[in-house]
């Protein structure tokens, strides 16, 4: 398959050499889709020519087209691998540097899409903990007359219509070449989660000034399509129950069944030996192309255990601190700092240093004096007496005011004691004033959590000693939600209890003006969720918690952005990402429930591999939370 790619690249280099540094062609304009190797609506469950692995086949078999009808997906654009193949044409716009007038990027528009930026200004790809989008993050470089576009940070979607899916770890490389009025796109989709070798496809467009893509509006705010009775409904097939498998062979009976199920050995000419009955698929050897996508490393990089604190702005007042494998969400502003979780104990000094630096840069950034005279805001009198306060010695950042714990997990409460003690959030009246019965006022940050967290920290079941008292929550709640009694940095902060989820004390936190939710352990982009059955956790509780997050969240446009969700571990996400994770858990829950209903024992359920199509993305065979432990927890709590 990659032979075509090699030839295309070689041709491009040759053109470059002959051109002697000629300017690259102008690819901007309106383009009409002429042809591609893939019909827009292929037959259902037709995997012919796809190098699906076992996981990819199961995922394709169990994911129905009506998943489009769920509220979180109704307005999504076509997924990136399919976008060039969709109807409606393409428009390519140039972004120019206004001073040099050099091309610094392109934007591609399709009928059902957000603008897809392609940066050619030399910027690197974002870190692994940055969010993924429907069009991903694309950079381009000209190789002779061919624009090579490399795309990462894509959401999960479909490889092509009718079943085959992609994970969110795919990478996509496109080679875009203009030949007079013909634009050819050679696309390489590299997704080892579901494919045994990269998928290569070519698409051809013709220049046509009248072919510009229309905008297809979306009125997908209802959940009418799936019956309108349950907004959390996740359509899916149990393994072996997809009625569409093999259906199209009724009218195309000349096609054998085996290759329509996909698989790398069925897509090479060597497969003819199987058709001739002189070989079997198992004994066949084919020249499989290797993936260049190190998925395991890229997943781990979303939550690196590197002993460092990485800071990324999110939205409004909110930032993420990625602290050695766990996320801390921080609201930083003129009122001080409110953090959700405190990281592990050994990271506390670095977390505090990062928070202090962040607060200083947010509240008192170094800046030139911009106001002169007797009437400058914040300067009572003439400006000159305050000069040093503005440019050289601004006021110190405000300390941590609130610590919120979403659970009692050590990686969430490890820094409680030290970070709370670091805060000296003075209030007039001193320790003897109103509220002195609460020990922390004026001397430490207030630690807030569900009562289950306090119970776990003060009377632990399996530890020799309780966490130190200074680390315990001092402000706890028992109800379904709890509002902080005052605005923090100009916005309400609300804690929602996720009942019987990862444990019996989990919460997630909503920063209501910044539109950011800290999901705690309910959501991870690098693992299956912890379900601690010994401490009251259930799979249904986790799913319910995710559904509540989805109910509160609103996508900005086309099922993307809007409310940002910070997972307990992993990359920054949005509504569609949480929906994807929820969908996976519902599929796994229903599979295990069905097996249990059939009378299967736990060992038999594990042997049936009910998580097979998600293990490459979220599973683990070693470490504190393995796939087998997850399956066992689901089994026990159904």
């Amino acid at each position: 398959m990659l032979l075509a790619l090699a030839i295309a690249t070689a041709v491009s280099f040759r053109v470059s050499a002959q051109g002697g540094g000629a300017r690259p062609p102008d690819i901007a304009g309106e383009w009409r889709l002429d042809s591609n190797e893939d019909p827009g609506q292929p037959p259902l469950a037709d995997y012919l020519g796809l190098a699906l692995n076992e996981a990819g086949r199961l995922r394709a078999d169990t994911t129905p087209e009506s998943i489009w009808g769920t509220p979180e997906y109704q307005c999504r654009p076509h997924s990136a691998p399919h976008q060039w193949r969709g109807v409606g044409g393409a428009r390519i716009l140039k972004d120019l540097d206004p001073i040099s007038r050099e091309i610094v990027g392109y934007r591609v528009q399709f009928m059902r899409s957000l603008d897809r930026p392609i940066f050619v200004d030399g910027r690197p790809h974002p870190p692994a903990w940055a969010p993924h989008s429907w069009s991903g993050f694309s950079t381009g470089e000209w190789i002779g007359q061919t624009l090579k576009v490399t795309t990462t940070h894509l959401k999960d979607g479909y490889l092509r219509r009718g079943g085959p899916q992609t994970s969110d770890m795919l990478t996509m490389t496109e080679y875009i070449t203009r030949h007079d009025d013909v634009l050819s796109i050679l696309q390489v989709v590299d997704d080892p989660i579901y494919l045994d070798e990269p998928y290569v496809l070519s698409i051809t467009y013709t220049y046509d000034p009248n072919a510009g893509p229309a905008t297809e509006n979306c009125s997908g705010s209802s959940f009418a399509e799936n019956g309108g009775r349950d907004r959390h409904w996740v359509p899916h097939f149990l393994p072996g129950q997809n009625s569409g498998i093999g259906e199209f062979l009724k009218t195309q009976s000349w096609i054998p069944f085996e290759p329509i199920r996909g698989g790398v050995k069925t897509i090479y000419p060597e497969y003819r030996a199987v058709l001739a009955k002189s070989a079997t698929v198992n004994t066949l050897t084919v020249p499989v192309s290797k993936t260049a996508n190190d998925v395991a490393r890229r997943i781990a990089d979303q939550s690196p255990r590197d002993g460092q604190v990485h800071v990324m702005p999110v939205q409004g007042n909110v930032y993420i601190l990625i602290a050695d494998g766990t996320n801390i969400t921080a609201s930083v502003g003129r009122d001080g700092i409110a953090i959700v979780n405190t990281g592990s104990a050994q990271m506390t000094d670095k977390v505090l240093a990062a928070l202090t630096e962040l607060a200083r840069s947010v509240v008192s950034p170094p800046a030139t004096n911009t106001c002169f005279g007797a009437n400058c805001p914040g300067m009572p009198s003439w400006s000159s007496p305050y000069f040093n306060a503005v440019v050289a010695s601004p006021r110190p950042a405000r300390p941590i005011r609130y610590i919120i714990n979403t659970s009692a997990a050590p990686e969430h409460v490890g820094g409680n004691e030290k970070l709370a003690a670091s805060a000296n959030f003075r209030r007039a009246g001193g320790a003897g004033g109103f509220g002195s019965a609460v020990r922390e006022i004026g001397t430490a940050a207030t630690i807030v959590a569900h009562d289950g967290v306090l119970t776990a920290m003060s009377t632990p079941a399996n530890r020799a000693a309780a966490a130190p008292e200074a680390a315990w929550p001092v402000d706890t709640f028992f109800d379904a939600f709890y509002k902080l009694s005052e605005y923090v940095n100009g916005e309400p902060v609300i804690l929602y209890h996720a009942k019987a989820a990862n444990t019996d004390g989990d919460s997630f936190v909503f920063f209501r003006h910044s539109e950011v939710i800290a999901a705690g352990n309910l959501f991870s982009t690098i693992s299956y969720p912890l379900v601690d059955t010994t401490n009251g956790g259930t799979i249904q509780g986790v799913i319910d918690g995710l559904n509540e997050i989805l109910d509160l969240s609103v996508a900005e446009y086309r099922s993307q952005g809007g409310t940002w969700i910070v997972p307990g571990r992993g990359r920054l996400s949005d509504t569609a990402d949480v929906a994807s994770y929820r969908n996976m858990l519902v599929m796994i829950r229903d599979r295990i429930r069905d097996l249990k209903k059939q009378g299967k024992t736990l060992e038999q359920v594990k042997a049936a591999r009910p998580t097979l199509d998600f293990d490459g993305r979220y599973g683990a065979t070693t470490g504190p939370w393995t796939t087998n432990m997850f399956i066992e927890a689901v089994y026990k709590t159904l």
């Binding site: 037959p43 109807v87 019956g227 009775r229 359509p235 097939f237 009625s243 569409g244």
Partner: protein, 130 residues
């Protein structure tokens, strides 16, 4: 000019078929049909496809809320179906293609009849959801 207009209309109609964000054959069992008798609870008249929601019993006799996918506004208006043609509470009989997904109360419209006044759709020329 008239020919050009017809071609343009044809192109728009063809394109609107392709614009559908999901495939009917992939979503519904196009070789099967079911008949539902129930009351309308909502009529969503919109593009790319309208939806009629009814309360009607399932195969086991339990009342369910069904979503019946219908044509877009352009197609329905051409057949005389307007935004106010159906009202909440109307008793209707609907035949359609059932969803492929077990447990999903979703149907692709074949035909609809309102016995109280004989209003019907799905038996005339071009009265097929596209």
């Amino acid at each position: 000019m008239r020919t050009l207009l017809l071609i343009t209309i044809a192109a728009v109609l063809t394109a609107s078929t392709s614009f559908a964000h999901h495939s009917f054959a992939a979503t519904y069992e196009t070789g099967k049909s079911i008949t539902l008798e129930g009351s309308i609870v909502q009529f969503v008249y919109r593009n790319p496809h309208s939806f009629v929601h009814i309360d009607a019993p399932d195969a086991s006799g339990v009342s369910q809320r069904w979503a019946i996918e219908w044509g877009g506004t352009t197609q329905l208006a051409a057949a005389g179906v307007k935004r106010d043609s159906l009202k909440v509470g109307d008793k209707v009989v609907i035949s359609g293609r059932p969803s492929r997904v077990p447990g999903e109360y979703r149907v692709l419209m074949i035909n609809l009849t309102r016995p109280s006044d004989g209003f019907t759709w799905g038996r005339g020329t071009n009265e097929v959801v596209d």
